[in-house]
Symmetry: D3
Subunit: 263 residues, 6 copies
């Protein structure tokens, strides 16, 4: 079997690293790396929910994905300067939010909003799947933080772990975790978001200027689920260490804290 340009087997992930507590202010702050792809994922908590959700007794979780201009091989324009969000940015932001809402019990966090920010520091393919994988860990830390503050309605607001990986057909071969060089010439590209209890959250597959048979789809999903299994192991190892910062102490006499975004 021919190795890939970076020496990996077809079914091998790039080296995955998860660094908790990468920055200090958000309740959860994680740098996730899939090879050269690096994404800073943070989870901040604010009191209150969007207007359309008020009175539901439920919290909310929303996500924003963005790319630093210097993150790409050739510098890309800054969306804040252009004054509007690109379609790709909004599409991925929505995907990250939906994916994480699949694992959280929004009734458990009270009338609060979790904002997940995924800012791509360096992009080498698979930024959206790395973002989801890292964001789950940041979300986990934020829940630990809320729990320590005695601010959770239910002590276990997360029902499962969430991870995501890209797979694709490159040079006629079904491959896991495509870097930019492979992604840009893939015939088929599939992103899978899965849970550690064996179910699927999102499946998004696209023929890039080509179409693909049902049998290829099946192989791609098999491989993606294999990849997610490995990611759950990395997440678990990262979460084995204690919370990377100072946890609040519950104080039943204190007035309700307004924001959990800073420590």
């Amino acid at each position: 079997m021919t190795r890939r340009d970076d020496g990996r087997e077809d079914n091998e992930l790039r080296p995955v690293r998860i660094t908790r507590g990468f920055t200090n202010y958000p309740a959860g702050s994680v740098l996730v790396e899939f090879g050269q792809t690096r994404v800073l994922c943070t989870a901040s908590i604010d009191e209150g929910v969007p207007r359309w959700r008020e009175g539901s007794g439920q919290g909310w979780l929303t996500a924003e994905y963005a790319m630093l201009p210097s993150a790409t091989h050739t510098r890309s324009g800054r969306e804040s300067v252009r004054g509007k969000l690109g379609g790709r940015t909004q599409e991925i932001s929505r995907l990250v939010g939906r994916s994480l809402r699949a694992c959280i019990d929004l009734g458990a966090i009270g009338s609060r909003t979790v904002t997940v920010d995924c800012d791509v520091i360096q992009a080498d393919g698979g930024t959206r799947t790395a973002a989801i994988t890292g964001a789950y860990v940041a979300l986990h830390d934020a829940m630990t933080y809320l729990g320590a503050a005695d601010a959770l309605v239910d002590p276990k607001p997360l029902s499962c772990a969430i991870a995501a990986v890209s797979v694709g057909v490159v040079d006629g071969r079904v491959r896991l975790d495509l870097p930019y060089e492979e992604d840009s010439r893939a015939e088929v590209d599939l992103n899978v978001v899965a849970t550690d209890v064996g179910t699927l959250v999102e499946v998004q597959g696209t023929g890039e200027g080509a179409t693909f048979p049902r049998s290829t789809l099946d192989k791609l999903i098999d491989l993606a689920l294999e990849g997610c299994e490995q990611l759950f192991v990395v997440q678990n190892e990262a979460l084995a260490a204690p919370y990377p910062g100072e946890l609040p102490k519950p104080d039943p006499t204190a007035p309700k804290r307004k924001s959990f975004g800073s420590k």
Copy 2:
């Protein structure tokens, strides 16, 4: 087996109607109806391509999806008034464009741009899949128009037909072509874009506040492909009639025409 609220079987499409030549100016203009969902799909052709594509000798195809404010059960705000495109609008526009680019040989249309507009007149679920299904027919008419003008590099620029349908899990049952009432309470929602040569173009599946096992995904895709087969029949029947308008006559001595958007 229990019938659905509208009397259909689980694996039954809503009545699908395709009206060609619905408006007069675009080279292709189709009203597509999936039950109460109605989308006006047009294909307009302009000379020239976007700047980043200049010099490639290839044409381009782009799509824009939008919803009339009065199309929804409760009137929705107008994006032009708000001054920005919503994420959903951009996401679907990109999906429609990618789906149609899977069937067209962009080298065959010369240095021209096809703009596909999908404007939803009435929305009752499945607007994006209806849009793709109708847009293919509008694109087909636009190619006929270009061919009559002797403006095609290759006389057969479309390699296959494209259709799309939504499937989902509602009340625990796998169902085809969800209307709004089912879509809004579906546990899983999947949109499939397929070709009439048996391959897939796009697969987008989402657990709506839930996750789903691999076996459900398989059943959903089976049912969607069945649905697409029926849609290809409807498309073929619609395209059996002659071009709904006056076709241009080729004139080798004439200067190149600037635009094929009007007749």
Copy 3:
């Protein structure tokens, strides 16, 4: 006397058709056609009024006019994509709103807002006057709907009918209801909005790269009023049929309904 290109006399309208109930969700939904010009006019009703009108005990009526990109001979750009409304769009939206507010007693509808949407499906001159003429019928249906729901303070909120028509000087001749081909080369262009009780609502006349004597203005207004008389007949005929949909039943014990935009 020389006939016009489309065979009409100078003082003849194009064939005018009014189709009520063209779509199903708004309280009033009308497709109006002046020859090849086709505009979808809807009237949706929401509880509440704009902030500046709160506490007045009066309702409000506002209008939004827009053109589908595919409606013109050559495809025009989408204003939502450009991120701003053109001056012409806003000008016509304001005109439609003012015109309809001339016939409605806003005290009669309670603290509600009627939003009139005029979306041009196909443009062949006179879109703003067709829009006003059709919007009146949609507004009439919306009032019928409100009346059936027992939601009117005064059972007859409309004091008169409103219609509009364009007139102009083309080839030195005073002509009624200009199609695009005449409009684009007219020396003078006048839009008149009138009531069926013989009064004027709006008069907007412009010399297009030319100026015009007072006597021409007089002739143009005479002809426009003649045209409006014919439009009132068409409106009346259209409104002779019963409400095209299911009317709500008044229920004095029910809590006030939040929205009348859907049926």
Copy 4:
């Protein structure tokens, strides 16, 4: 006959003053005052025309109208801060541009663009009509400037003078040149743009929450034309003095100047 609140007869203009050379850099710069209404009207000339007009051999004239935030009785928001132009602003800008294009031979100014800016310093009703009346004088000065530079194709590019005035029905009386206090409670409001050769350029009449008979329209136009006659006298008197600044000297050997906006 009862006098108006400000002591005027019904058919009397407010004191009208025209100050040429109010600022120094534009080729034409005029402060026009209709009573308390004050508008700075400037005409700047740049080489080149908008892209859609290139190659026509014709020049172009465009206008922009705006209101200073402090110009109104109660401070109004700044459109540049809100990030979008209001409908009223665009509507008046378009009106001013159309009105002035009625008097200028755009072929005579070569491939140049005249930009007319009308900035309202203080608003007390009739700002659009004051703007047009003052802008004509600024345009006249700009043409004198171009002529002195030997830059005109035809030495007399203006075919007539242009002035505008508002009329309305207030307290049941037909009145000329309404100040804000009358304008805000007028039943009918009409703006007329006319030429000094006895023809009309624009007529825009609106029933404000009311409709009006044809006979009222006739009386309003009679009175407006009377008012314009007086305005032409004021314009002529203002233009009797020499150009308020230094005129360029023609220099046939010099390269074409890029801009006539500064002196």
Copy 5:
């Protein structure tokens, strides 16, 4: 010593004129002229404060600076048309606001907002410093107005006068109050905002494509403070005359007035 192009000594201001009551509606309205630079500075007062300041018991002061398109030698684009504020505009607006907040006791004006508008009518260098110098006088008049209405918590809300001037190094010489011609070729450019009690409010110095020694900075600040002393004299002379308009009479039985922007 060589004179400057306009005949001034290096340490001489341009003729400075301050005209109070330039327009009639704002509580303070001042035209300030530094030679050919002319800025209209107004101070309007509204009841209420921004949301983030509510409940503080303190008022607020904010400023907006803008340039008329015709104010510059070559016409500049209109920011409202472009749909966004330039960086320079925002930077100067913030500077003017900060500068004036240094002299006002915001607790003394109650829960009100002062909006200072500085609109440049003609620009010949030093517009931001002229704006601050004039705005102080407009603010002073607005406080007189509030005092007359018996609406001040503390009768003396202004602790000192504020003025500003530009200095720079041109042709190797340290010069005061640079006109555009000098400013555009200055090697160093410094704006100083000072109080009449001998202290500094803002110092902003920039090497324009060059850097400068500490000793130059010292000379520049010395000269700027000298210039400010002269400006305080001009401000005082202007403020020696009575309030240019009608002052309100206090009426303890009247309900609180909503706005002090109009008289």
Copy 6:
């Protein structure tokens, strides 16, 4: 003497760290840390210059500063989502650009544009001064990169080093390098940009709700220049190591490379 909250002397910098090659694609990529403040500074090079600079034979340098939403103690809104740049962001972007243009010979880099991006990862006061200090190092690396590619007109395009630091008066004491906690309650705040040849580039001092005597300004500048001396040492140490990545090899026969943003 009382120590500061973080144990520092009044004239002591926070620990400053400069990490070159923090990301891989830009020609220069530096993480700069002033205590808890961390800014990613990159310098990317593109062929070509802005339109207004074309034909000058000179290159251009521009800068963009931004803050990640999660960088602040309490999460701040994303400017790309709001659709416009805040005034502070633009002000700092302009400052960084001006500061770096003071040290570069833009004629030496040919017709190219250097874009400096300063993205704040974590904000604890002094982000703009940290950004300038780090950006100089990134710019230095980018020049090394261009030199290796044999793409410099002059082998030494940088005439000096640039660093910046904040100083302020806190609790009545003149202090160096303020963290957020001190900055937020400082009475005076001054940012100084200086060169390693003893000159000043920018001086921006503000009384925060207070004014300050000339003598305080002098002390602040003295202290800031002291601080900059220490920063030049840190920059030099960081730049003593070789270029952190692979340098291009000059190839005289190769066509000119389009972009130096990626390696």
